[in-house]
Amino acid sequence: MRLEAKKLGYRYANDAWLFRKFDLSLQQGETVGLVGPSGRGKTTLARILAGYDTPLEGTVMLDGQPLPKRGYHPVQLVFQHPEEAVNPRWRIGRILNEGGQPDPFLLQELGIDQGWLERWPGELSGGELQRFCVARALGPQTRFLIADEMTTMLDAVSQAQVWHSVLAIAKQRNLGLLVISHEPSLIRRLCDRVIEWESLVH
């Protein structure tokens, strides 16, 4: 499977264009890094690829077809700030089940304790909450994962653990990964190739 962004363009209200004629192509099974300065639209691009926002110009295609409008989205996104990605009035267990029954092996791999499922999001630390978001994004129908600063809020041991698990799952299920990060050493560890944001923005 191939995820393709073709001539994407986006801007907020009447602000300047964040990007235009943006092309990107990601193959299943590969891990690609995307690096560049903050506030220029990397997160916006991630939201468009995962179907949260509609581009003002261009299209996102999956194997040459437009992305599905309803049902489970095959491109999943894990945000930088987990507290913004969960409903604070739902218990963790309910949030996790939003994407279908979680795989117990996955929960264990990600170091998620069953005891946390009873809690409210506000009762978990930032790093604990982020592991839930990773588990939630890795539903059985996920084909591509966009990791937008996914482990910046985790300690190094948990970061290494989460990435080793995600890479193992990606390999096993042949997922494509787009890693957005400001940390060059992490990008170097994870990615088959790296794209500079500025080289793609016109």
């Binding site: 903050s38 930032g126 910046t152 190094a156 290494a160 080793h164």
Partner: protein, 307 residues
């Protein structure tokens, strides 16, 4: 004299279990830490080890169902709720971890400036924005219009402009690109050199080491080591605690080597050393004795076998 002294701090939360019985769960225990004027102390460690709660305990903003014990001193005097309320935002400022702390209904420029700010302060704010790479137009924006990295720089500006002499920065740099993160830390160093104290909670150990005077390593609700910044080098041979070494070696620029298992949950701590279930150096004794913090090679460690 120490600007801030935390002695044997514990924080517990009351929870209702399924039978609706009230239960106390201790999330921070036996935590001691001090910081002098002019120092930057980096706090690193496991996610969920109590770093943010320590920050909230010092600021006096723990949630209502939290119970605190131990002693926190500021400027040589005990910090009680009343003093915390007086000092908060003036003497002590927090850069919160969650960007949700920004007021969603207020333009950025208004929240950053102190009410009744004069021309000089307004100019300082503009300079700071420029330094952090925030364009002047950002002042007119509402928080929802900011990217994650921009929101964080706005929070930072608020704390540094407050003139506080203790700044607690809870993960100030994630989402910032390298230059902005570096600029932030260098600015902290300058503030410390003016005599302020900075508690820098961060997962970015490598960057923190470039400015910090000492490093406190947290695991499962307590400090396991206090080290000098220089002790984080090579394969961590100079570090005193096996967890500190594991943390150092897990960095992507080092070995990117995880260790198996997970940090124990609050309320379910092992009887002996909190790190014993994951420790490569654990002996039988380790699961029986709770190690105390002790002095070692100019630092502190909570491990019976450290030498």
């Amino acid at each position: 004299m120490c600007k801030l002294e935390v002695e044997n701090l514990s924080v517990s939360f009351s929870h209702y279990d399924r039978g609706l019985r009230q239960q106390m769960v201790e999330v921070i225990h036996g935590l001691s830490l001090s910081i002098k004027a002019g120092q930057i102390v980096a706090v690193v460690g496991s996610s969920g080890s109590g770093k943010s709660l320590l920050a909230h305990a010092i600021m006096g903003i723990l949630p209502g169902n939290a119970v605190m014990a131990g002693r926190i001193c500021y400027g040589g005097e005990t910090l009680n709720a009343q003093r915390q309320a007086t000092l908060r935002g003036k003497e002590m400022a927090l850069v919160p971890q969650s960007v949700n702390y920004l007021d969603p209904l207020m333009r950025v420029g208004q929240q950053v400036r102190i009410p009744g700010a004069d021309q000089v302060q307004a100019a300082q704010q503009r300079n700071l924005f420029e330094r952090y790479g925030l364009e002047p137009g950002v002042e007119q924006l509402y928080p929802f219009q900011l990217s994650g990295g921009m929101a964080r720089r706005v929070l930072l500006s608020t704390a540094t402009l407050s003139g506080a002499s203790l700044i607690i920065a809870d993960e100030p740099t994630p989402g910032l690109h390298h230059e902005a993160a570096r600029e932030t830390l260098l600015h902290f160093r300058e503030l410390a050199d003016e005599g302020r104290s900075i508690l820098l909670i961060t997962h970015d150990i490598e960057s923190a080491l470039t400015v910090a005077d000492k490093v406190a390593v947290f695991y499962a609700g307590t400090t396991v080591e206090i080290a000098a910044a220089e002790d984080f080098a090579g394969h961590g041979e100079r570090l005193r605690h096996p967890y500190s070494r594991a943390l150092w070696n897990a960095l992507p620029q080092n070995q990117f080597q995880p260790i198996p298992g997970a940090q124990p949950l609050p309320g379910q701590l092992p009887d002996g050393c909190v790190f014993a279930p994951r420790c490569p150096a654990a002996s039988a004794e380790c699961s029986e004795i709770k190690p105390d913090m002790r002095k070692l090679r100019g630092g502190m460690v909570r491990c019976i076998h450290a030498s």
